[in-house]
């Protein structure tokens, strides 16, 4: 018998680190759809078995499991030698597990840590297990007789196949925490799919299983046990370490004293875990537990821990498979983000920039730098321009400036609305092409209040001044920088303005409505405002060329054109920014950030860390450090 202390404690640090890495990834992994029902197996072993038991004192957790009304509670009570949960006629009445724990152990150990997922409660009566509560409760009854080995925790569990799904969950939590399962089977249940599924998971996790065939017509059905056991083994992969048979005996059941017949040897069970002489009248539950006391429980414990770790590191069904899935899903999200980037672009067909507004700003910046003569001439032109403008408006030749600005604002809002509608259209199209986007954008496309978005856009647009303080600052900064970088050019412009003050039309055509100078009829006839907006740099350069000479203006054109383009682009960009900000703040919220986070999931450090830990734990297993 192997009595060496367990060495699986060396995994403790790595298991804890792995748990931390998995927990760090968990929420995000769920968000990207990397979860799979298959994960339940390794999660159960990692969090409910390894984390809680790898570092503590070795205690063998033995759980009595089986289908509805197969006599689990009767058997558990018999093994414990005292009532744990009441055995009643109706099925699926044991709602919560009950543990019989040696007194000494119960006072020292952290029961909640030993049975994660449960709220541990002290046992008060055998009706505790029948409590109808949604919370997962586990009742602990200390064993005071001293007949139960100090290292053995014995549990009665709810059913694994009834109509109450909570019972399944509780039974699975117990199974994950257990080292030894006492599988209660009957003729009616040994081949049920739900029973098979439950014990199949136990077999994969390397748990020791003792099979108890209950309610047998004894000895008539004895020859059939081999066939039933073979069927159970084939369906679950369980290689039972011992097999007992309990005859159907109403009287013994009512007295709580079923007899266990050891049929392990005749059914060819390899290890005969609970070895002992075959008693012709069968063993009582207490006698069976006394046999447990003589067995090498540490070997069973190590097998269970090793089996649990094998499930966790399994490349196809364990944590590595989950990590691979995260990377794959993250890749799919990256594709989704790529699709969004390619397909969804906001195109704003803004109306032509109201040039006079931009020129006003330029002119305001230029004004202190101009000569007195130029300013005087400009004032004359300004006064004359106002007069002509007034007359033009009275005659209906020139449109009212306020009306023009109102029309422009309406056109601009129209363009922004069209762009918002277009954006939502493109978003919907992209979502249709990518199922992950469909789900991720549901909150936007389906649940979003589009009417409110359009109203908000109109509200923001109405609140936005034609020239904002930011834009004024931007213009001045741009011009200041231009002056620093091109002092000669600015002087040239000023010179051109001074020289050309008399011939004002050529240079000031674009500044006309700013009041700096009037727009002479000759300038309008030469192309005027409508052309100006499209070729602003060319026009300024062209206009000044006749005054200052071609050579001098080559430099001006080269410097001024990009500057003016930037100034106008800056104004348009500010209008476009209104929509972009609105889409970001109101329509999408944090959706894009979430998508980017999902796309970047595959590069999280925790993934690499988890892979490294898995490799180390696999190496530990290969080295047989638990032996």
């Amino acid at each position: 018998m192997d009595q060496r202390p367990s060495t699986y404690a060396v995994w403790a640090e790595r298991v804890a680190a792995l748990c931390a890495a998995v927990e760090a990834l968990d929420a995000a992994a769920t968000g990207i759809g990397a979860d799979s029902p298959e994960d339940a197996a390794w999660r159960g072993q990692l969090f409910e078995k390894l984390r809680s038991q790898v570092a503590g004192e070795p205690v063998l957790v033995a759980a009595v499991c089986g289908g509805t009304n197969t006599g689990k509670s009767l058997i558990a009570n018999a093994l414990a030698g005292m009532p744990l949960s009441r055995s009643i006629l109706e099925a699926a009445r044991t709602r919560h597990p009950v543990a019989s724990i040696p007194q000494a152990f119960a006072s020292q150990a952290d029961m909640t840590g030993l049975f994660p997922g449960f709220s541990v409660m002290p046992w008060t009566s055998d009706d505790d297990a029948l409590t109808d509560a949604e919370e997962h409760l586990l009742f602990v009854r200390p064993e005071t007789t001293g007949r139960q080995p100090g290292w053995l925790a014995l549990l009665d569990t709810p059913d694994i196949d009834g109509t109450l799904r909570d019972n399944w969950a509780r039974a699975e939590l117990v199974r994950n925490a257990a080292d030894l399962l006492i599988a209660v089977l009957t003729q009616q249940k040994y081949n049920d799919a739900a029973v098979r599924d439950f014990f199949q998971a136990a077999a994969r996790a390397g748990k020791t299983v003792i099979v108890v065939f209950n309610m047998l017509e004894w000895p008539e059905q004895r020859p059939r046990l081999e066939h039933w056991l073979a069927g159970f083994a084939a369906g679950t992969g369980v290689q039972a370490d011992a097999v007992f048979a309990i005859p159907w005996d109403r009287q013994a059941a009512e007295q709580g004293e079923p007899r266990f017949y050891d049929v392990s040897e005749e059914l060819g069970c390899g290890k005969a875990f609970v070895a002992g002489d075959t008693d012709p009248v069968g063993l009582t539950g207490r006698q069976l537990v006394e046999r447990f006391a003589t067995t090498n429980y540490l070997a069973v414990k190590r097998d269970a821990m090793r089996g649990a770790l094998e499930v966790v590191v399994d490349a196809d069904r364990g944590v590595p498979a989950w990590l691979d899935r995260i990377v794959r899903m993250a890749e799919a999200w990256r594709e989704a983000c790529g699709l969004l980037a390619r397909r969804v672009t906001v195109s704003i067909m803004l109306p032509p920039v109201p040039r006079e507004l931009v020129w006003n700003e330029v002119w305001a910046w230029l004004e202190p730098k101009r000569s007195g003569f130029d300013l005087t001439v400009s004032r004359v032109y300004r006064v004359a321009g106002r007069g002509l403008g007034w007359a033009g408006r009275r005659l209906g030749i020139l449109p009212d400036q306020a009306q023009r600005q109102a029309d422009h604002a309406a056109e601009e809002l129209s363009a922004l609305k069209a762009a918002l509608g277009d954006f939502l259209d493109q978003l919907a199209t992209a979502a249709r092409e990518h199922p992950q986007l469909e789900a991720a954008l549901k909150a936007v496309l389906t649940d979003g209040d589009r009417q409110a978005w359009f109203d908000e856009l109109a509200r923001r647009h109405a609140a936005m001044p034609l020239i904002s303080r930011d834009y004024t600052t931007f213009v001045r900064e741009e011009l200041d920088r231009f002056e620093r970088d091109n002092p000669g050019t600015v002087r040239l412009i000023l010179t051109a303005l001074n020289v050309g003050a008399v011939a004002r039309p050529a240079v000031t055509v674009g500044l006309g409505l700013a009041g700096a100078a009037v727009v002479p009829p000759a300038a309008a006839a030469a192309g005027g405002l409508s052309v100006f907006v499209h070729n602003i740099g060319d026009l300024v350069a062209g206009a000044a060329a006749s005054l200052a000479g071609e050579t001098a203006l080559e430099a001006t054109a080269a410097g001024i054109k990009p500057l003016l383009e930037r100034l106008f682009a800056g104004w348009a960009a500010e209008r476009g920014d209104l929509l972009a900000t609105m889409i970001h703040e109101v329509v999408l919220g944090d959706t894009l950030e979430q998508l980017e986070s999902r796309a970047g999931m595959g590069r999280r450090l925790e993934i690499e860390q988890a892979r490294r830990l898995i490799a180390e734990l696999t190496a530990d297993l290969a080295r047989g450090e638990t032996a």
Partner: protein, 533 residues
């Protein structure tokens, strides 16, 4: 387990795929099955959820692979299900799930067997079944094996089994069978409608919201359209004046004033044309141009960019906003493309139906404006106006001619005076007078402009011109609403008919409108239907 079918000899069993499912057919002359076909079905709970029959462990399933697959083929053919269970199995989730799949429309008999050995769990079973949504008048408790032995020995069966036999004979034979089928069919229809309700219920609110949205957006666009058209009409004063002038010149034939108007038209024809472009459907119609009736006319950048703005004076962005808002509401009501076109109008107009609808709207617009032009013509056609203008013009003409004649005959020939320039002066005044009269006539014709605009605007709303722009959403919403209404009608009918059928007092049935508790909670079941028995 191999299914076994027991039926009276000579009964047509061609409807039962015995060979396909490997069933054994046992002919019998037993009175108990004289009027029924009894199928002994395999267990429903030995086949895993995701485990195909051919992957089941051979040792376990040797001889009966895919029990549930077989059950799936058998149960749809059955009218009544007799559910036989034991104290160990009556709470089985998988059995409950299979039952849930096939219980709708099929009365049930619940039987607890192994009575001689198992405790009586009928009360607990009944409560569990009621929790799952069944009405269970009776659960029979028998010992099948003992009854079989008694039958073999020729002994009378025990009273519990006899009661079960009586229930079968009474409920399943003769008229009982017809009643069962009838009530089963009604129950199935009711169950189906309830399931439909599960799916239609959540969209009912969003659908109402969509219908309200269609109405709201239609009104909003109509309002904008009326404003747009009215604005275009008001802005097209030049067009109105040209129209009035043209009508005046075309209608006023004969008479001196008519001659004068023709002269003016000829002279105006020699003058260079103005550069001012008349745009928009309204303007072009008023000046007598035939407007383009297609949305995106080749080479027309404006029409490409803003077809509605160009055609109807309605801002395309406003239409796109409405379409986008409705697309969002439609998504909430689970209505999506291809029924709903993109909100972007240029994309939507690629759809032939929408394009055709828009073209019709434009035609209507053209007709409406022509009617307005006709009103202008009618005003010019007023007899009093014609007489008045003719008289006023002719009077001046006669006065000028009389004065010229007087000057010539009396002054020059009789008195010998020499006066010059009168004729030239008179002609100038005559022309000016004619032009004043012409302008007066045009002003008169244009006097009803505001009235025409209001009349046209009012008729635009009645013409429902906006509807084609939202027709895809509106049509889909109405179709969906039709389905919901039809469902509600059918559900009422089903409930009314069900109330007329008295349920069996022996057989269990699924409660009307109740969902089965165990069924939907199944973990990842890949099959659409499964059977149990």
């Amino acid at each position: 387990m191999r299914p076994v079918l027991v039926a009276a000899a000579g009964v047509d069993l061609s409807w039962f795929p015995a060979d396909a499912i490997g069933a054994k057919v046992v002919p019998t002359d037993a009175a108990a099955v004289a009027e029924i076909v009894l199928v002994d079905c395999p267990d429903p709970d030995t086949q895993g959820d995701a485990q195909p029959a051919d992957e089941l462990p051979t040792q376990v399933m040797a001889g009966d692979p895919g029990n549930r697959d077989r059950l799936e083929q058998i149960l749809p053919l059955c009218d009544v299900l007799m559910v036989v269970s034991t104290a160990q199995k009556y709470r089985s989730f998988r059995v409950a799930r299979e039952l849930a799949a096939f219980a709708p429309g099929r009365p049930l008999l619940f039987v607890q067997t192994h009575a001689s050995r198992d405790p009586d769990i009928r009360e607990d079973w009944k409560q569990d079944l009621e929790r799952q949504g069944f009405v269970v008048p009776t659960i029979y408790r028998v010992d099948g094996r003992e009854a079989f032995r008694q039958a073999l020995r020729g002994e009378p069966v025990d009273p519990a089994f006899a009661e079960l036999q009586a229930a079968i004979a009474g409920e399943l034979a003769c008229r009982g069978a017809d009643r069962l089928r009838r009530s089963g069919a009604l129950e199935l229809a009711g169950w189906f409608l309830d399931r439909c309700n599960d799916r239609l219920g959540p969209i009912r609110g969003p659908l109402d919201e969509l219908l309200r949205g269609v109405s709201r957006e239609t009104q909003r666009l109509e309002h904008l359209l009326v404003d747009g058209i009215a604005r275009q009409l008001r802005q097209a004063r030049l067009g109105w004046r040209q129209l009035a002038g043209r009508e005046l010149e075309q209608q006023w034939q004969g008479g001196a004033f008519g001659w004068f108007l023709q002269l003016v038209r000829q002279v105006a024809g020699w003058l260079p044309k103005g550069r001012r472009q008349i745009s928009g459907l309204v303007g072009r119609t008023l000046v007598g141009q035939v407007p383009s009736l297609t949305l995106a006319a080749a080479g027309s950048t404006a029409a490409d960019d803003e077809p509605l703005e160009e055609a109807l004076g309605l801002d395309d962005a406003e239409v796109e906003q409405s379409r986008s808002v409705l697309a969002g509401l439609a998504r909430r009501a689970a209505i999506e493309g291809p029924a709903i076109h993109p909100a972007r109008l240029q994309q939507a107009s690629e759809d032939p139906a929408v394009a055709m609808a828009l073209e019709r709207a434009q035609r209507w617009m053209t007709t409406g404006i022509r009617k307005a032009a006709s009103g202008c013509r009618d005003r010019l056609d007023a007899t009093w106006l014609r007489v008045a203008l003719e008289v006023l013009f002719d009077a001046v003409l006669v006065a000028v001619l009389a004065r010229a004649a007087w000057d010539f005959f009396h002054g020059r020939l009789w008195l010998g005076e020499s006066r010059g320039g009168l004729l030239t002066e008179a002609i100038v005044w005559l022309v000016l007078w004619g032009l004043v009269l012409r302008q007066t006539a045009i002003a008169w014709a244009a006097r009803g402009l505001e009235h025409e605009i209001r009349r046209l605007a009012a008729s635009l709303r009645e013409a429902d011109l906006v509807q084609p722009l939202l027709s895809d959403v509106a049509t889909s919403a109405q179709l969906a609403d039709g389905v919901v209404q039809a469902h509600q009608r059918h559900q009422k009918t089903s409930r009314r008919l069900s109330a007329t059928v008295s349920p069996s007092r022996k057989l269990a049935r699924l409660m009307q409108g109740r969902a089965i508790v165990a069924g939907p909670a199944s973990p990842a079941t890949p099959r659409s239907h499964s059977g149990g028995g």
